[in-house]
């Protein structure tokens, strides 16, 4: 049995039937990583001994079989696992090994998932390519000369390369959806507040959400169903009752209305991405959805708003990395010199750029013109979505305006890198659920992703549409 190609659902069922074991599944993942990850660099830490010990425990204990019993999972390296090195792709954390577990990790393990290791990402999740990792980039399994997307690139690679059937990433402005699109897998950003952020190293707290990667929509829905729900350790989490993500997954799209903001597609979209997107819309229409135009007037400002708001929040959140309580320290004669020395040596160029941008947007004399203005336009962006959702049940866009670009291509032009997020930041700013599902390949065999965005807390409809699309011919990639 080729354990690597099984979905999480099928792997769990095979273990249930006694055809394989958790230990065999974990060993298969570890062997694949040992053989192939030197080239792809999905993982920063492989926790082989811990994973095998857990798998054996699952195989021998007579405990209840969890919903992810024996399923290997990869975690982005900004998620805390007690005692496991956690870097967030940065040097400033040194050999930090957190003394606690993220809630999402605890919930995965409680359902029998086995943590294989920690995956590469842009430093503190700031980037769209993994090239801003302090430990070198990951590579796209479809073409190793190209980036896998980011910031959760290592988790996308782990699933695309069939190292693990599922992985977790974090999505602030597209960091799960964009790498999922560029690596040809499914990736979702839950409604803001559905998944606890406890134990996720904070980047921009009003935007950050942990989200699943998988090779099927059903697996992604299962993972989100396992990790979401109220958590007393995150006061922004679980403020609203919502249907499970898997609840409507087999229903199809008959009668659903899907909106397309055509005006956002007029410039900057690669021709092959456009063509794949149009084929996806036709496939949805052929499956019974009605596709119609919607206006998201203020979304043309989404990138500008995002890079002011997210960097402002980051400049505050990352103040904690000062060389006092954890991680690396560069000694100085004074406390101020210790702070500046530690932060200057510990952070890479992109983090410094964003911290300075955010500091500037919040500073006296510029606050009103940048930060406050951006938060007002954010309100308008959210209202546009609310108005559109009076007429449609979901909104479709390409996930990324281009397929995967080559390593180094955008590294010297931060603004070009930021434009990779042009279609993903809008739903983030509005707190809405969104998924990227594969929608074909370019002539050069690079994956393209379709993004479906839904109403707040209606993640179930987003998964429903993605699953229906996956069942059409246009939805088959891997």
């Amino acid at each position: 049995m080729d354990l690597r190609s099984l979905s999480a659902h099928d792997l769990r069922a095979a273990i249930e039937r006694g055809e394989t074991s958790a230990e065999a599944a974990v060993q298969s993942a570890l062997d694949a990583i040992a053989a192939e990850d030197r080239k792809l660099h999905a993982f920063l830490t492989v926790a082989g001994d811990r994973a095998l010990a857990r798998a054996r425990q699952l195989d021998t204990s007579g405990d209840r079989r969890g919903r992810l019993h024996g399923v290997p999972v990869a975690l982005k390296d900004n998620l805390c696992v007690r005692g496991m090195k956690t870097t967030a792709g940065s040097r400033i954390l040194g050999d930090y090994a957190p003394p606690y577990n993220a809630t999402a990790v605890e919930r995965l393990e409680a359902e029998g998932a086995v943590v294989i290791g920690k995956t590469n990402c842009d430093e503190f999740a700031m980037g769209s390519s993994t090239e801003h990792s302090a430990f070198g980039p990951s590579r796209n399994p479809w073409d190793p000369e190209r980036i896998p997307g980011g910031s959760s690139g290592g988790s996308a690679v782990s699933v695309a390369a069939r190292f693990t059937p599922i992985a977790l990433g974090s999505d602030t402005g597209g960091s799960v959806r964009q790498p999922a699109a560029l690596c040809g897998v499914v990736g979702a950003k839950p409604t803001y507040g559905r998944v606890s952020r406890y134990g996720l190293l904070a980047f921009a707290s009003s935007l950050d959400q942990i989200g699943p990667f998988a090779r099927t929509v059903a697996d992604a829905a299962l993972v989100q169903d396992v990790i979401d729900g109220p958590d007393p350790r995150d006061a922004t989490c679980g403020t609203h009752a919502a249907a499970p993500c898997s609840s409507k997954i087999d229903r199809g799209v008959e009668g659903l209305r899907i909106g397309v903001p055509r005006h956002l597609l007029e410039r900057g979209v690669d021709a092959e991405v456009s063509a794949a997107f149009e084929r996806a819309l036709s496939a949805l229409a052929a499956s019974g959805a009605s596709v119609r135009a919607v206006e998201l007037t203020h979304s043309e400002h989404a990138i500008a708003v995002y890079y002011l708001v997210a960097t402002a929040e980051a400049s505050s959140n990352l103040a904690r990395y000062d060389g006092v309580r954890y991680g690396a320290r560069v000694e100085g004669g004074s406390l101020a010199a210790l702070y500046a020395g530690t932060r200057s040596r510990g952070f890479g160029a992109e983090v410094k750029r964003r911290l300075m941008l955010g500091t500037y947007a919040l500073s006296a004399g510029y606050y009103d013109a940048y930060y406050l203005k951006a938060q007002q336009v954010r309100t308008l962006i959210r209202r546009d979505f609310e108005r559109a959702f009076e007429h449609v049940d979901a909104i479709a866009l390409p996930t990324s305006p281009t397929p995967a670009f080559k390593l180094g291509e955008r590294l010297d032009d931060p603004l070009q890198m930021y434009l990779a997020d042009v279609f993903t930041v809008g739903p983030s700013l509005a707190g809405l659920p969104a998924i990227s599902v594969p929608c074909g390949l370019t002539a050069g065999r690079l994956p393209v992703g379709l993004q479906i965005t839904g109403r707040a807390w209606d993640d179930a409809t987003v998964y429903q549409i993605a699953a229906a699309f996956e069942r059409t011919n246009e939805g088959r990639v891997l």
Binding site: G94, Y96, P99, Y100, G193, S206, P232, A235, T236, G238, T239, H240, H298, H301, I303, A304, V305, Y307, L308, A319, D322, V324, R325, Y326, G327, R329, G332, G333, S334, L335, A336, Y339, A340, R343, S344, K352, R353, L355, M356, L357, T359, Y360, A369, Y370, L372, K373, A374, Q376, V377, R378, T379, L380, R382, P414, L415, Y418, L429, A430, G431, A456
Partner: protein
């Protein structure tokens, strides 16, 4: 609004952000930050009369204010670059 940052601006912002920028890096940061700010000034063209700033997508629920076990103090201090674990203290250079 013009948003061309000078080297002096970058040095001032870096100081506010508790970063020490190498003198050789300041011109490149000034150029890149100016280009991003130029792009971001598009928000200033939007009419936001009577539009409230975004204030969170969710209403935070309150939890009961009851004592729970905090993180283990030893485990936390063991992650510090310099600490007196037995005394329960982080160590930093003299401040006063």
């Amino acid at each position: 609004m013009g948003s061309q940052l000078t080297r002096a601006d970058v040095e001032r912002i870096a100081e506010l952000a508790r970063l020490a920028i190498e003198p050789g890096d300041a011109p490149r940061f000034a150029e890149q930050l100016s280009s991003i700010l130029d792009y971001a000034t598009s928000v200033q063209r939007v009419d936001t009369t009577n539009v409230p700033p975004h204030a969170g997508v969710a209403v935070s629920p309150l939890r009961a204010d009851s004592p729970v076990d905090p993180l283990d103090r030893h485990a936390v201090l063991e992650q510090a670059p310099d600490a007196n674990v037995d005394a329960g203290l982080f160590r930093v250079p003299k401040v006063l």
